[in-house]
Amino acid sequence: MMFKLNIITVSLLAMSGSVMAANFGVGQANTESVNMEKYQCKRCVSETGYSGKVTLLTGYNSPDDLHAGNALGTAEDGAIAAISGELRYLNSTGYKASMQAHQLGLDNGFANLKVGKSGLYELELDYQAIKTYESGDARSQLWQNDGMLTPSVYPNQFDLALQREKSAIGLNYGEGRYNTFLRYSQEEKTGTQSASLVAPRPTNFGLPVDSTTKQLDAGASLAGDNWLTELSYFGSYYSNNIQDLSLPYLSDVYSAAPDNQAHQVSLSGQYQLDRTVMSGRLVTGRMIQDDSLIQMSGNPLQSWDGEIETLDGRFAVTSMLSNRLRVGASVDHSKRDNKSSSWEFTQYSYNALSGAFKQNVPQDIKRNTYKLNASYRLASGYRVQAGFDRKEVDRSYSEREQTDENNLWAKLNVSAFDQVNINLKASHGVRGGSEYQVNELTSSEDNILMRKYYLADRTRNALELKFNHSPLSWMSIDLTGRYALDDYDATIIGLTESKDYGYDLNINLQLSKNLTAYGFAGQQWIDSTQAGSQSFSSPDWQADIQDEFINLGAGFSYSGLMEDKLTLGGDYLFSNSISDTYLDGSALVGSDLQYGDYFSYNHSVRMYADYALSPKMALKLSYQYERYYDTDGAQVGINTVPGLTTLGELNHDYNAHQVMLSFSYLLR
């Protein structure tokens, strides 16, 4: 394959030289007659000093449910306040600064500051807080303190929410042909998430999260007229401040995510020869994990020498052979070489084949991807594209050690009509590979008819039609329809078929100079079928999973009221996610079964009025309403199911409101 691609590359290079391209780059300009000393710019506006605006926000938040904090920016109940703003500063010698802040003071917000001299250096400081809320009424009798999960008599109520706070500092330096960058960031992730342990009954509990991820990136680049190269380093260091968890009567029931680090060094480059561009990159990396292991009988190690060496390479070329024809090719190689050692460890669950001891299996994965593509302009406004992609994956210790996927695709773009664009894309992909076999080291217990869906033979056909129409100068309509069918033709047990189809429609209107409006509607269906065998032979049950998604929205903005001082706007969004599961087959006692409800919907409304008090001051009143409902039949009370302890029913059903009054001051 490499050899074939080399021939293609050479022939592309040979053919590309004769074609001239329009290149209006300023470096190509014929400036013989230019005398810049005569340039005047009396009409140019160059204002130095500060500009931008600062906004103070204050309001009332009524989340009703902690989960509403996701949409409202904070789950706080009652009065809230925050500050937002955008500031720019420029002086006459080219020093500049800019700052952007968004909702600082709420649980979700960010601030960014950049200072420097245009085209020479820039120092950047960045802060971001993201808080995601899962539930405010999780309940558990297990309470974590210093690695010990202590049972209490009555369940405690607590929040399931995670907060990320990331701070970063970065420096760019360089001008013209060379550039360098250095960036350091640190993210603290704290909160509680849902987890479960076996002791020996399955018990759901609130897993404390307290970790730090540090990231250090640095790089330098050099550029010439037709080439570019960059050498860079990326380092990531994860440390978990939560230890392995124990119960008073059972130690180390839940292991903590181990500290780890990853390093990558990347060398990349690009070379342009007229209308042929080649780019390539080589990344070598190492992932290391040698955290202390839990000490117990049957563990021969203090710590394990987990180490993965990675190598990723790519070479790509694209060339305009004529003004009508473009061709391209690329080769990608990715290797994950697991250098970790392999040992035998005692397992609690008895393994019928290998006994109580089990050996860890460090898996190697190697991928090669080859792509060819061509684009040909049939006539003005008509273009066809076609391509062939091949992906090969080799993995050790697997039921199927080698898979390959060939994909043929074609597109037709029609832009010949003034107000209509049509894009049609079709693809046909086939995945096959080496013989599928049950492997002793992996899944010796599996039914021999099982084909894991990510390894199984698969035929994938997909079609997409995009239609863009601007019937009037003030109206544009986009309609997209999609259909994809995955057929796992060699699978008897496992996922056998998946069909994904849908459409979306977007309309944008510029009804007058001051009035804009939009609307959208979309639906998607994913129908999957899978088979199982309770009798460990041929299939005796089948599940049909029918997913459906509906998305509707509309909004407007009108800025022409009270002598253009008042802007009114509104947005509405409705989304509904449904997943229905139907069971059928002889393994079922009685008739066919439909799973319990599993759906969610929300109505989101935003309305605002923005009034300019003066050229420098503005007031904005906004209102946000969130109606949210989700349900899942799997959610049960703490002890509803004998032998299982949950965190309670964590479904949501709420109406949340937020009223915000903001005052903005314009600095110029």
Partner: protein, 316 residues
């Protein structure tokens, strides 16, 4: 009498219509894209730049707010020697004026949706200066192959480019990527619809040397940049997890919780069919420990891999 009045009105409307058409129409509107490119290439080669720079242009265009907004952004800065306004000024990007100002008979290089000029010709202007590592994979990128022009996303005649503002990046991307826009609103998704995350946290719109224009060499590397606790390596790996996060998750959103392609137990049963246990039909989600609570994950909770010496079944 009435007939004459109607005739006058019609003539008046026709005259007004002609005037309005002739005001909006430019002498080069009849040129095809290829003819326009040819003409502009000739002009560019001749290099007849205006004697006074920007003033020659602003003499006519100064009343256009969109034109004057160039001075609000970095491209209009005159004290940055790399800025076009510090060099050939307007003509650095729009090409030499030639006879454009003499009766408006010659076209200039124009950008955006209304321009008949090919995307590659438009983009050559931007690439004349923006030749840095972020653009290294542009030529082989899907956006380039789809003939997307820089000006389709970026606006340099503005204080703020919406493609660079964290609060409007997602709107910029989803104005074309409508499926991903819908996905953000599914039952579970990354927090994109509230602009807490942006598309460019994972993807490079200018193309990258990675799959799906991702920022990191592999899909998993991209996920690990925020989910480093799942990076490992760990003693007991779950093979499909190590191979590819999207085996089980759809990062753009899902109708299932946790961005899963299917819910447990069905998702797990698409790969696991041992004797008894995982093969059993789970008739109702809330009836027993196989379907209630976290389903299979009630016991196999360390599904992303375990570093416990006895964690081969991801139970501890």
């Amino acid at each position: 009498m009435i007939c004459r009045l109607v005739k006058r009105v019609l003539v008046g409307i026709a005259a007004l219509a002609w005037v309005s058409v002739s005001v909006n129409a430019a002498p080069w509107d009849h040129l095809t894209g290829e003819q326009l490119e040819q003409k502009l290439t000739e002009k560019f080669t001749q290099g007849q730049y205006s004697p006074k720079g920007a003033d020659s242009c602003l003499m006519c265009h100064r009343k256009n707010e969109a034109v004057m907004a160039i001075f609000d952004g970095v491209h209009g800065s005159m004290n940055n020697k790399q800025s076009p306004m510090a060099g050939l000024q307007c003509e650095a990007c729009h090409g030499p004026q030639g006879k454009h100002n003499k009766g408006g008979k010659e076209p200039m290089i124009a950008f955006g949706a209304e321009s008949k000029l090919s995307a590659s010709a438009q983009n050559s202007v931007c690439q004349g200066c923006h030749n840095d590592p972020k653009q290294m994979a542009w030529h082989t990128s899907t956006h380039n192959l789809e003939e997307i022009a820089c000006a389709d996303c970026h606006n340099v005649h503005s204080a703020k480019d919406s493609a660079l503002d964290k609060l409007t990046i997602n709107d910029t991307c989803t104005s074309c990527h409508s499926k991903e826009k819908a996905d953000m609103n599914k039952r579970s998704s990354h927090p994109l619809k509230w602009d807490q995350m942006t598309c460019i946290d994972c993807h490079s719109p200018h193309g990258s040397m990675n799959e799906s224009a991702l920022n990191k060499p592999t899909i998993n590397d991209t996920c690990y940049s925020c989910h480093a606790e799942k990076r490992g390596p760990v003693l007991w790996e779950h093979a499909p997890v190590t191979e590819n996060c999207v085996t089980c998750h759809n990062p753009h959103g899902s109708v299932n919780d946790d961005l899963l392609n299917s819910r447990a137990p069905q998702l797990c049963q698409q790969c696991h069919a041992p004797d008894g246990h995982a093969s059993r039909v789970v008739p109702e989600p809330g009836m027993d420990a196989f379907g209630g609570g976290k389903s299979c994950l009630n016991c196999h909770n360390k599904i992303h891999g375990s570093n416990h010496p006895s964690g081969s079944l991801f139970q501890r």
